[in-house]
């Protein structure tokens, strides 16, 4: 059973890896320390993928959302909000489980053996609400209202919080460009500290960024219960063995709620079910 579960997980990682490679396929950028400047960047990718990553060929939806909201000309982003609504309504947090490069990084980090891994803790459920606060404050309100003299708002989530931007964009670009190295300051140091904390916590806790911080996960989670692609539990077939809940690293019990906002649709519960009651 464990071998089958592990095989299934590596299959998912292969899909995640392929998707990450596809959406970061401008390999020349890594060699030259530049980013892709083509028209594909009109389009958003579904996962959290910094558009300042040298390989990125699409736009990060959270960065794009802040860019349009913070623009003096618009103040609401119908294009990006519509994209998030469409993707969310189609597959919910399936994106988190299968199509997010930063999710893959956290998945792999959690495989590092370490004593005292934490499944859950007191206040875990409450802390999971933090991502909604981060979404409303740093992605919507601050770029909308905290503006400069021209009425332009900064992407505050990217600027102050996002460790994906540091890992995928900041570190490679700074390593490859001497001019950028001379411009480093406290913000770069702060973002690297956040990245290191995220990396350390990812070894201890399964996907801490997705559970507590990610504004993209917060948006998709709202659509999880109504998304077109969803899980169903055949209550007649279910034998209430509890193996599915035990297999879930996001601490969801599929029998109670198969489309819980925290479910990233990794498929671990489906594989764990001995009577194939989850479809």
């Amino acid at each position: 059973m464990d071998k089958r579960k592990s095989e299934n997980e590596w299959k998912r990682h292969a899909v995640q890896g392929l998707w990450a490679l596809l959406t970061n396929s401008y390999l020349m950028g890594f060699a030259q320390g530049k980013i892709y400047r083509g028209k594909l960047k009109n389009l958003c990718v579904p996962g959290l993928n910094c558009y300042s990553c040298p390989g990125a060929v699409g736009a990060c939806p959270i960065g794009a959302l802040q860019a349009v909201i913070g623009n003096w000309n618009f103040k609401f982003a119908f294009y990006v909000a519509g994209f998030l609504m469409f993707v969310g309504a189609l597959m919910g947090r399936f994106v988190c489980g299968w199509l997010c490069p930063f999710g893959l990084i956290q998945d792999l980090l959690h495989k590092i053996p370490f004593p005292g891994k934490i499944n859950t803790f007191k206040g875990d459920n409450l802390l999971r609400k933090l991502k909604y606060v981060i979404f409303f404050v740093f992605v919507i309100l601050l770029p909308m209202f905290l503006v400069d003299i021209l009425g332009q708002g900064a992407p505050y989530f990217c600027k102050l919080i996002c460790p994906a931007g540091t890992l995928e964009g900041g570190i490679p670009l700074v390593l490859l460009n001497e001019s950028m190295r001379s411009a480093l300051g406290w913000l770069y140091a702060w973002k690297n500290v956040l990245l290191l904390v995220t990396i350390f916590l990812s070894v201890l806790i399964y996907r801490p960024f997705c559970k507590y911080i990610c504004p993209l996960g917060a948006v998709y989670s709202i659509f999880n219960p109504i998304s077109i692609f969803h899980y169903r539990v055949d209550k007649n077939a279910c034998i209430d063995c509890g193996l599915c809940a035990k297999a879930c690293k996001m601490q969801v019990d599929p029998v109670k709620n198969a489309n819980h906002p925290e479910c990233i649709r990794c498929g671990a519960c489906k594989k764990a079910c001995p009577v194939k009651a989850i479809r």
Binding site: Y36, S52, A64, N71, A77, Y79, A81, G82, A89, G169
Partner: protein
């Protein structure tokens, strides 16, 4: 097709609404703002700006 028949009507409506919002956003010229941001190195994102 079976997947759509079993889907929540709210999900289908939200997907359609999402597409309509995307269309409206493109119509009112939001895409160039996204492109402009995405093709230039985002100093804030990488922790310099």
């Amino acid at each position: 097709m079976r997947l759509f028949r079993r889907s929540s009507p709210c999900g289908i409506c939200a997907a359609i609404l999402g597409l309509a919002m995307m269309g409206y956003g493109i119509f009112r010229g939001e895409m160039p703002v996204v492109l402009e941001k995405a093709i230039n190195i985002c100093m804030e994102c990488i922790g310099i700006g």
